[in-house]
Amino acid sequence: MTASPIRLLDLAPVSPLRSQTIYHAVGYALGADSPDTIMLVSPNAPYVSIGRHQDAAREVDLPYCAEAGYPVIRREIGGGAVYLDGNQLFTQWIFHADHLPATVEERFVVYADSLVRTYRALGIAAEHRPINDIHVAGRKIGGTGAARMDGAEVVVGSLMFDFDVATMARVLKVPSEKFRDKIIQSLTDYMTTMRKELGEPPARETVIAAYLDACRAVLGRDIERGELRADELALAEKLDARFAGREWLEEAGGLRKPFVKIHEGVRVAEAAHKAPGGLIRCVLRVRDGHIDDVAFSGDFTARPPSMPFDLDELLAGSEISEKMVSEKIEDYYRRVRPEIPGVAPSDWVAAVMRAAETEAPA
């Protein structure tokens, strides 16, 4: 660790492209004599940021983004696709690797603490939910991520003034409109912002002052306003060209996440199971190992016609285990005796379990 002051770069709003390339440039330009840097920046227009290894065409509705004028920009930070605009203040730490805790998890403890303290100073009861989420009463307020860039360890996140849930759901490539509805509903239920918590978000200067106080407290170091160096700007210009290029956007990804993570404990996933009597589609919202919400659809013929909706209600709240789900569905078949040729209880179970299997490694 070190006692030297941290440079603060509090930038005016920049283009979507530059809002990504600038922290990469400061990271890659970090030399032995460079200061650790905290950068604050917002984009001056909306865009979509995708994770380091995501396949843009599979994750994002590229034709829609092109039509709406939203650039799609790959970052070197991992994670998922996210819609970003001027309602988020990005808080980027670009530090010498040995000036931050050794493990990624420990780094997030310090980084998250700075955001939690900021929100609390603003009257929002935020908490760190390990590994890297910030929650307010079970709702996530912003995301965080980390990456290594040569000698720099970079941790990024944001202070959420507001978040456009509908556009976020619209820019994603999803298997069905039902899935998209579930994303909107889940983001509404499980995400929050300063606007939601306070009615009106505080002024940017107020939030920045609280944030800098919080950073001083958690890092135990002075923070001094500074400027970008010429070499950092030059590198950002080079990276602008690379990050705007098709080659970078279309770089072989292959990391297909057949689910959308709302926050650490909540995911929405969809899977299909081919039963002899038709295809069963299952859109599943999983919360902490339980079925939070489920919706079946498909090309089967059922009597009573309410059967898929009955099963939706029946399974809500159930633990995700083959045994539990199976018992509930078999009980329904015994009680209601549905007429649904070629679709057995085991087919519904298979659809649910396939959707549930799309959980990511934590």
């Binding site: 380091r52 991992g78 990624v104 991520g145 980390a146 290594r148």
Partner: protein
């Protein structure tokens, strides 16, 4: 094998301690490279890995692969210059956590044909010297290793 604060440091390998990379020379002159136990502990469970293609020449310090864990992304730098002879892509495709489970065995990352092999001159350490360097490093970092796949 030396174990310090839960971190395995095999004495028969060469290490670039700063880059947290191990190297095993083979009789045919190629080098096998991988993540150390401290490295897999620090980065967490691997979620995805993107390899540079065999045949690609790399200078020392250049990335042979990019690794994304659940919460972090970063390069896998080669300590020595050379040409990629083989990647372990097939194994990672079957088990993405293999470097977390078995960092010094099945979880190797790439095999390299080095431009030259002069470990001391290339800043690499082995045996007792490597163990001592790592013990100091692990203390400095306050690190306790665990296999992130468990």
């Amino acid at each position: 094998m030396s174990v310090y604060r839960g971190c395995d440091i095999p004495g028969d390998l060469f290490f670039d301690v700063d880059r947290d990379v191990w190297i095993r020379p083979a009789p045919d002159g190629t080098l096998t490279l991988g993540l150390t136990d401290p490295a897999q502990t620090r980065s967490g469970k691997v979620l995805h890995i993107l390899f540079k293609k065999p045949g690609r020449h790399l200078d020392a310090g250049q990335s042979a692969a990019t690794i994304e864990t659940a919460k972090w992304a970063g390069p896998f730098p080669t300590p020595v210059s050379g040409t990629i002879a083989e990647t372990n892509e097939a194994t990672f495709r079957a088990d993405i956590l293999i470097a977390n489970r078995d960092p010094y065995g099945a979880g190797w990352i790439v095999r390299l044909e080095p431009d030259e092999w002069a470990p001391e001159a290339q800043g690499l350490v082995t045996g007792e010297a490597a163990v001592q360097r790592y013990e100091t490093r692990i203390d400095e970092l306050g690190l306790n290793c665990f296999r992130c796949a468990d």
